[in-house]
Symmetry: C2
Subunit: 346 residues, 2 copies
C-alpha cells in the first residue's frame, strides 16, 4: 500500500511530517510517498536516520500557504497538495494525508478525486471524546449549507466508517438537535429525521447538545456550519475552564502544591481529549482516501493520520459506502421524493 | 412598578420562587404580584416571615407542567403563566417573570403581548461568561429557522439591551460564524453580514466559535438552533471537564487533599459561570417585558430575574428598540430589498 503524504503543508514546517512518516514507516505495512522539496526532506530523513526503502521523496516546486484562498490554491499545480492528490487520482498512491490548509486540501481533493457516485456532498468527520467511546461527528466544515439528503449521505458515510475503521458493531446514528423528541429541531433536521427513520441504519433519533458527551451514539450528523461552530466552541470552553483552574492553582503555594498532586490524573484526562491520539479527520465521499490532519500536528498525530489512511484503505471504506448509498437510496426514495415535491410547490 | 411572577412554574415547586420574591421585595423598588395557588403561596410567605405590602398574591387554578406541549398549554387560560401574561397585557403589571417551561412561556407571551411593531421575530437572549465581561448571545431557542432580517432584529434588540440594561457604551455586535473573514459563513450569516454592515450599529464582523470566550463582542447573534446547541454544548463540555477533574481528585488521599486546597479558587470560578448570578434571560421583541428564568432557579436566581425585569422597565428597553428598528430599517432598506429580489428570482 502507498500513502501520499503532503510534507509541506503544516503550521510548523515539514519537521513533524517527516518524523511522523518515519514513525509510520517503521510501524505500518505501507510505503510513504513524501511530497515536497527534495533537499529539505532528504536532510530531515537523514536527521531522523531513516535509510529504509519504505519512504520515497516525490519532489514538487510549490507550497500552498496555510492562509491560502482555496480556489486560488488550485492554480498551484505543482504544489505538494496538488501532487499528492494527483498520485491518488492516477492510482500511484492508495490514499493521501495532508496537514495543510483544510479549505485548499478539500478543493484539491474534490477536483482531483471527484465525488463517489451517488454521494451529493462530501464531509469532514472528526472524533469527539465522550464519557464512553469517542463519537464520530460530521460534517465539521466541508459544507456550511446542507439539505436533508446531504445529512443522509453523512449518516451513511459515518456509519460505514464507524463500522469498518472504528470497529463499532451496528453503529448508532443520531442527529444533533435542540431536543430529543422527534418534533424538536429546525426544518433541516426534521426532514432528515423523516428520511433516516426509513433507512436500515441504526438511527436512534435526536441528540441534544447537553448530551453530546454521554456517548449515546457512535455517529452524529449535522450541517458543516453547526459542526464547525460546535467543534470550535468545545475547544474554547475547555481552554477557558483550564485557564480558570490554572488561575485557581496560581493563588498561593498551598494551592499550587495541591494542583501538582492532581497533575497525573489531569494528564490522563488530557490524553482523552488530545487530537494527536486520533490522528486525522477523514474527508469522506470522494473517489479515494483523503485524511486531513490538524495544521499543528506533531509527529505522533502525523503517524496516527497515516494509520487512519492505512485502515481506511485496508477496510475498503469507499466500496462499503457505495453499497450502502445504493441500498439506502432505494429505502428512502418515497419520502425523499415527497419532500422534494413539497420544496417545489412551496 | 409591578412585576408579575409566575410562582407555580419551576422544576422544584414554588418554594424558591416565593423566597426569591421576598428577597426581591426587600431589595428593589417594586411590587410583586405572585401568581399561583393562594393557599400554598400564603403558607410559604408566612414561612419566610413576609408581612409587608410589596407582595400580593394573584390567585389562579391551573399549572402548566414543565414538559407541557407549548401549543396545548395555551388552552389553560387560568394557569399561572396565562394569568401573569394577562396582567402585563392589561397593564396591571409592567413585566412578567417565569421559571416555567420555556416553550409554554414563549407561546403565552407571544399570544398575549404580541410582537413589537417592526419586529419580525422575538428572541431569547442569555449572558455567557467570557474572559472579560459577559456577552449577550441571541437567539438561544425562540426561533430555529431564521432569515437574515431576523438576525438583524436580534442585533438591534441585543445592542439596545446591552446599552440600556447592561450599561455597555456603544455595544460591539458580532455574528457567530465559522471564520472571522467576511467571506466565511453560511448563506444566512453572509447575508446578515451584508445588512449589518449598512447599519449604524457597532458591528465588528464575524466571531469564530474558538473566540467565543475572548470577550471581543458585547452582543453575538445567531439563529435559535445554533444558539441553543452552542449553549447546551458549553454546559456539557464544562460538566465533562469538571467530572474529569473530579475523577482525578478521587484517585487517592494525596490528590484529594490537593483538590481541597483548590476549592476556594474553583468556587470563585464557578460563580463566574453560575446562571443564578445573571438571573433570567429576556424574551426580547414583545410588547411588554418578559423574563425567562431557568427551571431549576434557586431563590437568588429568582431575585436576579426580578432585578433584570425591573431594570428593563426602568430603562424603557422596548421604546429604544422601536426607535432603533425604525432607524435601521431605513439604513438597510436597499440591501435588504435586493436580497429579497435574489430570493424571489432564484
Amino acid at each position: 500500500m502507498r500513502i501520499a503524504l503532503d510534507a509541506m503543508g503544516s503550521d510548523v514546517g515539514p519537521t513533524p511530517l517527516v518524523e511522523g512518516a518515519v514513525m509510520a514507516a517503521k510501524r505500518f505495512d505501507c510505503k510513504i510517498l513524501l511530497v515536497g522539496r527534495r533537499h529539505s526532506l532528504g536532510r530531515l530523513l537523514r536527521f531522523y536516520r531513516y535509510a529504509g526503502d519504505k519512504i520515497e521523496i516525490v519532489p514538487c516546486s510549490q507550497t500552498v500557504r496555510m492562509d491560502a484562498n482555496p480556489r486560488a490554491s488550485l492554480k498551484l499545480s505543482d504544489s505538494s497538495i496538488a501532487v499528492a492528490t494527483r498520485l491518488v487520482a492516477e492510482g500511484r498512491a492508495d490514499a493521501m494525508v495532508s496537514a495543510g490548509a483544510t479549505g485548499a486540501t478539500k478543493a484539491h481533493a474534490l477536483l482531483g478525486l471527484r465525488r463517489l457516485e451517488g454521494i451529493r456532498r462530501e464531509a469532514i468527520a472528526t472524533l469527539m471524546p465522550t464519557s464512553k467511546k469517542p463519537c464520530l461527528i460530521l460534517d465539521v466544515g466541508a459544507n456550511v449549507d446542507c439539505k436533508p439528503r446531504h445529512l443522509v449521505d453523512f449518516a451513511i458515510m459515518g456509519s460505514v466508517y464507524a463500522r469498518t475503521v472504528l470497529g463499532r458493531k451496528n453503529p448508532r446514528v443520531g442527529i444533533l438537535s435542540v431536543g430529543e423528541e422527534p418534533s424538536k429541531g429546525n426544518a433541516l433536521t426534521l426532514a432528515t429525521y423523516a428520511l433516516l427513520k426509513q433507512s436500515h441504519l441504526n438511527f436512534i433519533g435526536n441528540v441534544e447538545g447537553r448530551h453530546l458527551f454521554k456517548g449515546k451514539v457512535d455517529v452524529l450528523v449535522c450541517d458543516g456550519f453547526v459542526g464547525n461552530v460546535v467543534l470550535k466552541v468545545c475547544e474554547s470552553v475547555a481552554k477557558m475552564i483550564l485557564m480558570g483552574v490554572k488561575g485557581a492553582m496560581k493563588k498561593n503555594v498551598l494551592t499550587m502544591a495541591g494542583a501538582l498532586t492532581l497533575l497525573p490524573g489531569m494528564r490522563k484526562f488530557h490524553k482523552k481529549v488530545d487530537h494527536s491520539e486520533y490522528g486525522g479527520a477523514p474527508l469522506l465521499g470522494l473517489n479515494g482516501v483523503c485524511i486531513i490532519a490538524h495544521g499543528s500536528s506533531n509527529a505522533k498525530a502525523v503517524m496516527n493520520a497515516v494509520r487512519v489512511a492505512v485502515e481506511s484503505v485496508d477496510q475498503d471504506v469507499n466500496r462499503h459506502i457505495r453499497e450502502e448509498i445504493e441500498a439506502i437510496s432505494a429505502e428512502i426514495e418515497q419520502v425523499a421524493s415527497s419532500q422534494e415535491l413539497v420544496a417545489v410547490t412551496e
